[in-house]
Amino acid sequence: MKVRVLVRPKEGILDPQGEAVRGALPALGFGGVKTVHIGRLIEMEVESADEVDAMCRRLLSNPTIEEYEWEVVS
């Protein structure tokens, strides 16, 4: 089955990438963007979903600064 994991900076943790992109947008001709956050997308083909949560916690995200969510997509 196919699993999709989204990893993003935790609430309150600095997101320098998102900040820099947001800051640059108006000058680049893209208006109307209020916030930008950048994280990671991980897509995996797994045999079972049993261990996905443990993988997210131990390898795919850094729980110190990131949070994750995951879902089975097919």
Binding site: P16, Q17, A20, V21, A24, A27, L28, G29, I38
Partner: protein
């Protein structure tokens, strides 16, 4: 000859490039990213660094900076442009050069000196060299792994547009490509840093062979 060096937020080899231009015997001109003005320079170097932090993708944001409009015009009119490292990435993102630079296959930043071979002298930035000549140039990058689809690669090879080729590939680049040029041959992008070896005080000035070519081409 006046040579411009673009300065994006996060460029960090801009001062080195300006210094190297002086060493070449040309007049260095800083080109601030926000100003849509090339100040009448005869050639442009897009230097290395981490423009806009390399956030999103290296070069992705810089490509939209104010200075890029006139730079694209200049390039399309045949003006000599050299992108070094992050500059190469910017020129690819701006579609002035084909392909893209992916993360090094070993996934580490690599700072080293590598041997490269000059593959063509048919560009303003290699006109002073010899085909087959080997140079030892510094590299320092995390995304230097040159990628283009098979068709593009075949075209680059056919049209003699691979400018430098690694003798030992430090990053996984397709066909060991270290530098390519545009269809018009005036725009060149290279991952190694010629400006870092442009002063005998640092042990080598082999990079001047590349940089000074543009003076040769211009008949200086």
């Amino acid at each position: 000859m006046r040579i411009g060096v673009t300065v994006f937020p996060g460029s960090n080899c801009d001062r080195d490039a300006l210094y190297a231009v002086e060493r070449m015997g040309a007049e260095p001109v800083g080109l601030w990213h926000a100003e849509a003005d090339l100040k009448g320079v005869d050639a442009v170097i897009v230097p290395g660094g981490f423009s806009y932090g390399d956030y999103l993708r290296p070069g992705a944001i810089a490509r939209f900076a104010g200075v890029m409009g006139p730079l694209e015009e200049f390039a399309n009119e045949g003006g000599p442009v050299l992108g070094v490292c992050n500059g190469f990435q910017v020129l690819c993102e701006a579609h002035l050069l084909p392909g893209a630079l992916l993360q090094n296959t070993h996934m580490r930043f690599v700072c080293d000196r590598v041997r490269v071979r000059v593959e063509t002298t048919g560009t303003p930035w290699t006109a002073g060299g010899e085909v087959g000549e080997e140079l030892t140039l510094p590299v320092a990058h995390n995304e230097g792994n040159y990628f283009a689809d098979a068709e593009t690669l075949a075209r680059l090879e056919d049209e003699d547009r691979v400018v430098l080729r690694y003798v030992e590939n430090p990053n996984g680049s397709a066909n060991d490509i270290a530098g390519v040029c545009s269809e018009g041959r005036n725009v060149v992008g290279v991952m190694p840093h010629p400006e870092r070896v442009s002063d005998p005080a640092l042990g080598s000035d082999e990079g001047l062979k590349i940089l000074r070519s543009v003076l040769v081409g211009a008949g200086v």
